[in-house]
């Protein structure tokens, strides 16, 4: 049995690499354009996934949950732009939005009855603080749109 941290590490590594591509990409195109091209990248993966799986065994409820999950993630991306356009400093706003796991923790403990152990609470606190601190980049390069997180 593969430990769940191994799976989580796959996400950390690939999302981390994505952050580098993001930096390189937003040097050349606007952050909004980047979101469109990133979504196009997701779409490129679709045929590959369709050939190995179908959605036929899923209930309507699960399908809806999955679709809404994608939509709210997109809305989160949109909110980042709106936030920066309304005059937020990227060095403040980006680390702030990196606190999003706190919301997941609140929802999961409230509605899914998740009960982390004391040790897990310590890990959660350290991880959330780390996410925010790592996103801290003072003095934006030229425009506020230069720094965009990617949590797709």
């Amino acid at each position: 049995v593969i430990h769940w941290v191994v799976y989580a590490s796959v996400a950390i590594v690939l999302w981390g690499v994505n952050g580098l591509f993001m930096k390189l990409g937003t040097n050349r195109v606007s952050a909004r354009s980047m979101v469109i091209w990133v979504t196009a990248g997701f779409v490129l993966l679709l045929p590959l996934m369709w050939t190995t799986t179908t959605l036929s065994d899923l209930s309507t409820r699960v399908i809806l949950v999955g679709l809404i999950a994608g939509a709210v993630n997109g809305l989160g991306n949109w909110a980042v732009f709106a936030c920066l356009e309304k005059g937020a400093k990227a060095s403040v706003a980006i680390p702030l939005t990196a606190l999003y796991p706190l919301c997941t923790v609140a929802l999961a403990t409230a509605f899914l009855n998740e009960r982390p152990t004391v040790l897990q609470w310590i890990g959660i606190a350290l991880a959330v603080a780390a996410g925010a601190m790592l996103s801290y980049e003072p003095a934006p390069v030229t425009t506020t749109e230069k720094q965009v997180p990617c949590v797709q």
């Binding site: 996400a11 981390g16 979504t39 899923l58 709106a82």
Partner: protein, 143 residues
């Protein structure tokens, strides 16, 4: 004497809204991943995101940048993120969202390292502290 009352800045509302949307994404991902495979979740996730992306495209009024290298990096971003998200959903299938989502949230640790190595960007002290906390959290949550 301060006569003007402090207003909650609009940008802060949007930042909180973002936290809410992304947080909800983690929550819904857990509910979905209990039943659906990572690939099924990623397919649904992509289809669900499309209308929002189209909305953003419409809002841009055709000002889509088409720099060739930019497009390439964008597509690579989508492919890397999409494949990484498979790992996220696989982890959610076996572990609680309250543990998985904070842990995968430390992903900038690698971005910071790569930016340092590849782009020769300098690390600031806050980021260095974040790296230590990230490593500590990975170890603690692995136990």
């Amino acid at each position: 004497m301060q006569t003007e009352r402090w207003h909650f800045p609009i940008w802060l509302w949007y930042a909180l809204l973002c936290i809410f949307w992304w947080g909800l994404w983690g929550f819904l991902s857990k509910i979905g991943s209990d039943k659906a495979s990572p690939m099924q979740m990623q397919i649904l996730f992509t289809l669900g995101m499309l209308p929002v992306a189209i909305g953003i495209l419409v809002q841009m009024r055709g000002k889509l940048d088409r720099d060739r290298a930019g497009i390439t990096y964008g597509l690579l971003c989508g492919i890397a993120t999409g494949l990484g998200t498979l790992g996220y959903y696989a982890a959610l299938h076996v572990q609680n969202a309250s543990v998985v989502t904070p842990l995968t949230g430390v992903f900038p640790v690698l971005t910071v390292v790569l930016a340092f190595v590849v782009l020769r960007e300098r690390l600031n002290k806050v980021q260095m502290g974040g790296m230590l906390l990230a490593l500590a959290s990975i170890i603690i949550l692995s136990i």
